[in-house]
């Protein structure tokens, strides 16, 4: 069962990463990138690295996404 979850998460991360690359709007890309981060959180946790999972959840999926979005807002119409 765990192996199936790991495999499904791997496939999901690759699909979400691909979706993030092909988006037209940069804001959509950032949201899909957060999806990559969330998938990595599940993987880190299943591979018995809860410390790294917590860090990735807080920084990669949380604050990192926010900083990207703020940067996009600063850029405004140029992006």
């Amino acid at each position: 069962m765990t192996g199936f979850i790991i495999l499904a998460t791997f496939v999901g991360i690759i699909v979400v990463a691909f979706a993030s690359v092909v988006q037209k709007r940069l804001a959509d890309s950032v949201v899909f990138l957060m999806g990559v981060g969330l998938g990595s959180v599940v993987l880190f946790f299943l591979f018995k690295a809860p410390d790294v999972a917590l860090t990735e959840a807080v920084i990669g999926a949380g604050v990192g996404t926010f900083i990207f979005l703020i940067a996009l807002k600063h850029l405004g119409e140029q992006a």
Partner: protein, 235 residues
């Protein structure tokens, strides 16, 4: 979405090439996998038993690699300094609009819980996953929630500076105390008994350092987030 039109052939072939390279690497690595390997973690686990800290990662980050952590804190400080210096002050705050009533109420309700969880992660860093870095960033994300929802909310600059200075100075002071008492920088000079392993008050100086790291990271990340929200680079 038409994939053929949106993505040029060069990008697709680049994807294919990197997939082939990764597969080759994995095949090579799997062939040379030793059957009975001596893992790096084993030595660290054996060393960890002397310190009486339940979470081995914390012992490595704060104790065996304590000097590196001091360097990481310095890097974060320089990043925070750069954000503060490069973004010009902007009093009109054009990023901030009046937010929804529901967001305001929910964030007021959630803010104490987020702060409490951040402090929990910080204080229990030597017993459970997490620690100073994670707890500090959780606290900063609570501050960020209030910054988004409340138009006039602001952490006073003096408070951030006071926390940051206190944490930075006490980290170095604890290191120097270890140098004075045990002849090693960041030495574990507080009594730490292996019998107390798993208790909140155990591990001597290690949880103390992780709490200090948490205060430092929390105030610095709050400062960065606040600067990004309230300042504009094109005044």
């Amino acid at each position: 979405m038409n994939i053929k039109r949106d993505i040029p052939t060069a990008t697709l072939s680049g994807f294919a090439l990197s997939a082939v390279l990764v597969l080759t690497l994995i095949t090579i690595l799997l062939q040379y996998l030793p059957l009975s390997q001596q893992r790096v973690g084993d030595a660290l686990l054996a060393l960890n038993e002397k310190e009486g800290v339940a979470n081995v990662v914390t012992t490595v980050v704060v104790y065996f690699r304590g000097f590196d952590t001091l360097g990481e804190i310095a890097v974060l400080f320089i990043a925070s300094l750069g954000v503060g210096v490069m973004l010009q002050p902007n009093t009109e705050c054009r990023l901030k609009a009046e937010s929804n009533f529901m967001l305001q109420t929910a964030s007021t309700l959630l803010f104490p819980l987020i702060i409490l969880f951040g402090i929990y992660v910080m204080v229990y860093g030597h017993l459970s996953p997490g620690g100073g870095f994670q707890g500090g960033v959780i606290i900063a994300s609570g501050v960020l929630l209030l910054l988004i929802s409340h138009k006039n909310f602001e952490v006073p600059h003096t408070v951030i500076v006071a926390f940051e200075t206190f944490a930075g100075v006490s980290y170095v002071l604890i290191g120097l105390m270890g140098l004075l008492l045990l002849d090693t920088f960041l030495g574990n000079f507080i009594p730490h008994d292996i019998a107390n392993m798993g208790m909140l008050l155990s591990g001597g100086v290690i949880p103390l350092i992780y709490i200090i790291v948490g205060i430092k990271v929390g105030s610095e990340m709050s400062g960065i987030v606040q600067n990004l929200m309230q300042r504009s680079d094109d005044v």
